[in-house]
Amino acid sequence: MIHDLLYIIYYEMRETLDQAFTWLTPLLFFIIVVCLFPLACGPDPVLLTKMAPGIIWVAALLSIIISIGNLFRTDSEEGFLDLILLSHYPLSLLVFCKTISHWLTHCLPLVLISPLLGFLLHLSFQKECALVVTLLLGTPVLSLMGSIGAALTVGIRRHGLLLPILIMPFYIPVLIVGSATILAEAESVSGYYAMMGAFMLLSMAFAPFLTGAALRIGVTQ
């Protein structure tokens, strides 16, 4: 069973990596959005250091919400979603696999490039580390919660900005805690990390079930 699920993740990832633009465009979007802020707000190091966590987090959030919208779209167009729905594996497990592959191909590149962008915004080494850790803990939450919205909107052809409007409000707690962790003083930071970890575990435990249920509703549209 584990073997099957790993294979499904592997094929999912191969499909994404085969079309470079699907994973490259969200990454480039992320980089460009972050780069716009120094241009708009001026290159003042003090100001940028203060704003950097917020900028990077908002940019990551926007980039993920754009990419997650297509989580089930290709499968739905190619009819592969029907095979997923008919599978003997629980639907929640299969959508979890899909979300994992989405995270590996769309979110992990963001996390890996983020220290470079932090450097651009004059973050200190210690804050850089905090940035990477919070993104590692936080982006799975964004992926998992986004997958619920993606499942709900899968049957709607021209959904446009419906998904961001639907899901963004649920991203707010992660955004607040995520950027606050980076700004927090060294002695109080462990509590923030614990909270981020809790968000991640909570979304891992519940989101796949909700996505599965949402998908069954979504395909009837």
């Binding site: 294979y7 499904i8 094929y11 191969r14 190619e78 009819g79 095979l83 003997h88 395909v219 009837t220």
Partner: protein, 165 residues
């Protein structure tokens, strides 16, 4: 057809399988069906062989590689098996869906316009596969615009108004 397959719940009436409503135990029912819809359910960025493997991951009784090769040969696809599905013609993709019917055996087939995009050889192949399925006590519900040439007893339901009224 999507209602019969249990993808959509009917607003009115019910669908019974072995005297129980399919929505009571959807998982068990859906393990016994094979659905062939308008879309092929093929991942265009994977090769045919990988598509075979991937669709077999999702079902309970996995076919062995030798069975996959045999079925691809039977459906005339063995020379294309390492070609990405997006490079194939629609007729070849339709043939692949027929191959999938053979790979993942299920007693109940739900086929929505199975003959579309198939050439006469492909149609012949389809009837061969269908007759083989029916002679193994299989059931099939088929929606089609053509006449179905099946050697087994069948019940035809005409939907909509006939043309001459």
């Amino acid at each position: 057809m999507r209602i019969i397959a249990g993808f959509i719940e009917p607003q009115d009436g019910s669908i019974l399988w072995k005297d129980t409503c399919i929505f009571k135990n959807l998982g068990i029912f859906q393990q016994q069906i094979q659905y062939m819809g308008h879309q092929n359910g093929i991942k265009h960025h994977l090769t045919l062989y990988e598509n075979c493997q991937l669709s077999s991951m999702l079902v309970k009784n996995k076919p062995s590689p030798s069975i996959i090769n045999k079925v691809l040969e039977q459906t005339g696809l063995s020379s294309f098996k390492h070609i990405k599905a997006r490079q194939l013609s629609e007729g070849q993709r339709r043939r692949f869906v027929l191959a999938r019917l053979l790979l993942n055996p299920a007693p109940f087939w739900i086929l929505d316009e199975p003959l579309s995009s198939l050439d006469s050889d492909g149609q012949h192949l389809f009837y061969g596969i269908l007759n083989q399925h029916l002679s193994h006590h299989g059931i099939a519900v088929i929606a089609t615009h053509q006449n179905c040439e099946v050697s087994h007893p069948m019940k035809t339901i005409y939907l909509g108004l006939p043309y001459d009224t």
